[in-house]
Amino acid sequence: MSTEPSNLQGQPAPPKGSSRAQSWGGEIGAVALFALSLIFIFGGLKLGLGSFFRLGTGAFPFISGSILAVLAIFVGLHEWRSKGLSHPPDWISFLAIVAAIAIFASTADRLGLVPAVFMSVIIASFPDRSLSLMGKAILGAIVSAACWVLFIRLLNLPFKAFVGM
């Protein structure tokens, strides 16, 4: 038997800004899943169902799409009846991470690994206000140097540290 007390004790106190609110997220999720299932059902029909002997390209997406459609309806009903509580989304963190990954993706090939890591770290650390810009730059420099040593020098991955140098 585990000696865990209860899962709710021993947790850090809920941080500020996470006041829980009623939301329609669960229902929206069910609707999104239902829409997804329709895409696969109709896509499956278009790709062709084939025969029992030669199941077509669309058969499996069609079958799983149909099952998902039914399940999504049940999930929607369930969510509607038992209103879930949830955290409000943290848009600033969300956007910072999205931007950090995007900058990495758009610079890794063009500028090289080291600049990509450097910029990505600085952008990712945007939501944090306890670090100065200088601190963020130092963090970026340390992480990019470490990545260079680890991935290019030690692991010998086929990345270029800097492009055009």
Binding site: M1, P12, G29, S120, V121, S130
Partner: protein, 510 residues
């Protein structure tokens, strides 16, 4: 006994100092590479492969095997500490492991996984030593219809791998099945749902889905809530050891997980994922602490780990005796052997006994090394959590980017991770579980492949699924499980108000 003497001679081979050294290097390198997000056993083996060209076959295989299970174990470290699993099996470990880390018990979680990994590995090794020929025969008696049935059972188990209840679980599994169809159709070569994007021809890589749904969304959700260091990890060594009660609670799950893992591991292609899912689902039913599953309990973290590691060992059976690689890393193992002119196949056991028994014995030595190496390292891993999160999370993000980029050396994969990560964050907010989706995503294409193949081979007769004894048995079990789950759900609804379970689930996500 013949097996014992063979094993003994194998042990002598491995205990030669140079082999011992290669085994250690393998385990060591594997663990450290495996910890890096997105870089799993596959990449680790590929990296070390050129080095093995200079070794004799047994040393090479011992080292590769060390890297393989080292990396698998390293992967579970990352999923426990930071919720960034690189494989479906590790995502199941994360279900219990990550909440434990959040409660300041990362040390215990890592200690339990190390122990479970060792226990599972030993069970796998014993099974491999004693039953290789029969398990190879078992794998040979599996036709496409039987594989289909086993995957079906695995998917039902996968729906239990969530905290959100069976309905949402199975829904996410099916959603995963559908996403798995993206890409070129194996049977006809037609493109499906690729939206004209050439990079989607080969489908979406599992690591991209895992890194997006788990890694990226976890980081976004944690920036404001996780200060790092604020979770007091108990870092003195006494606190790494599970309590006496926990020790006792570890034994049975390891045995069950190891046994389930060793059987499924011998089935090429599906082994490890299904093993971990079924082992967890079974444990969730039979364990005395079953009501606490999902909140971070020791048996829950041990069981998928034992199953995974035991399956990792027995996965060598079809690889070596049938020449059928069960997973991409195993394909590299076959490739490495072929470089030495050794063709894996039914003859390997008789023609290369030193190699086979050396490998089996290396599992013993390697697992001992893994545990010797990792118990002291637990302190270091746990201290990672003491680093303020503001330094950690930008690093995690770039590591994820690099890991994903290294899959195909294509930045498109990073963009895809970004999109999946955004969806994953949304799923996290509204408690749509990513683990069942990941399992469905991995097993879906295999399921479709076997289904269509079974129908082709039976020339369109669906009765094949009920005529073959293996598939008929498995389908009967699946139906029974489904009926029971339905019955239990209806009964539970009548007895308890549904809200109480909602409150229970808040824990791990706080």
């Amino acid at each position: 006994m013949d097996i014992l003497s063979s094993f003994y001679s194998g042990l002598l081979v491995v205990l030669e100092p140079h082999n011992l050294m290669y085994c250690f290097i393998g385990v060591f390198v594997g663990t450290f590479i495996g910890v890096l997000p997105g870089i799993g056993s596959m990449a680790a083996i590929a990296m070390i492969l050129p080095l093995t060209f200079y070794l004799e076959p047994t040393s090479a295989l011992v080292m590769i095997a060390g890297v393989y299970y080292g990396a698998e174990y390293g992967g579970s470290i990352a999923s426990i500490l930071m919720n960034i699993p690189g494989t479906p099996a590790a995502s199941i470990t994360a279900i219990e492991g990550y909440p434990m880390a959040k409660k300041g018990r990362a040390g215990v979680a890592l200690f339990s996984t190390a122990t479970a990994s060792f226990g599972g590995g030993m069970i796998g090794m014993i099974v491999m030593a004693a039953l290789s020929p029969s398990l190879a025969k078992l794998a040979l008696s599996f036709g496409p219809a039987d594989y289909f049935a086993v995957i079906l059972l695995g998917l039902i188990a996968a729906s239990a791998v969530s905290n959100g209840g069976a309905l949402k679980g199975i829904t996410m599994v099916v959603a995963g099945l559908m996403l798995g169809t993206i890409g070129i159709d194996l049977t006809t070569g037609d493109l499906r749902y690729t939206m004209g994007i050439p990079e989607l021809r080969d489908g979406v890589h599992i690591v991209i889905v895992a890194m997006g749904l788990f890694g990226v969304s976890e980081v976004i959700a944690s920036i404001r809530t996780n200060k790092g260091g604020s979770i007091a990890q108990k870092i003195d060594y006494n606190h790494f050891y599970p309590t006496r009660e926990e020790w006792k609670s570890l034994f049975a799950p390891i045995m069950r997980g190891g046994a389930i893992g060793s059987v499924f591991g011998a089935l090429p292609g599906t082994g490890q994922t299904i093993a971990a899912a079924i082992a967890y689902a079974v444990e969730k039913r039979v364990n005395r602490a079953k009501n606490l599953f999902g909140t971070g309990v020791v048996p829950g973290v041990a069981v998928p780990e034992a199953a995974n590691n035991s399956a990792t060992q027995t996965a060598f059976i079809p690889t070596l005796t049938l020449g059928v690689p069960g997973s991409p890393p195993m394909a590299i193992v076959i490739g490495a052997l072929m470089i030495y002119g050794i063709t894996p196949g039914p003859r390997l056991l008789t023609e290369e006994p030193d190699l086979f028994w050396g490998l089996v014995a290396s599992f013993l030595v390697g697992n001992v090394m893994l545990i010797i190496l990792n118990i002291p390292l637990i302190g270091i891993w746990v201290r990672l959590l003491q680093i303020p999160y503001k330094y950690m999370y930008p690093t995690i993000i770039v590591l994820i980017c690099i890991g994903v980029y290294s899959l195909n050396n294509n930045v498109f994969d990073i963009w895809l991770t970004l999109i999946i990560g955004a969806v994953g964050y949304w799923m996290k907010l509204y408690k749509f579980e990513p683990a069942p989706l990941l399992l469905g995503f991995v097993l879906g294409p295999l399921m479709e492949e076997q289904l269509r193949r079974a129908m082709l081979l039976s020339r369109g007769d669906p009765m094949v699924f009920l005529e073959r004894p293996i598939s008929a048995t498995l389908i009967a079990i699946t139906v029974a499980v489904l009926i029971y789950a339905f019955y239990a759900a209806i009964r539970a609804k009548k007895i308890t108000a549904s809200t109480s379970s909602e409150v229970q689930q808040e824990g791990p996500n706080t």
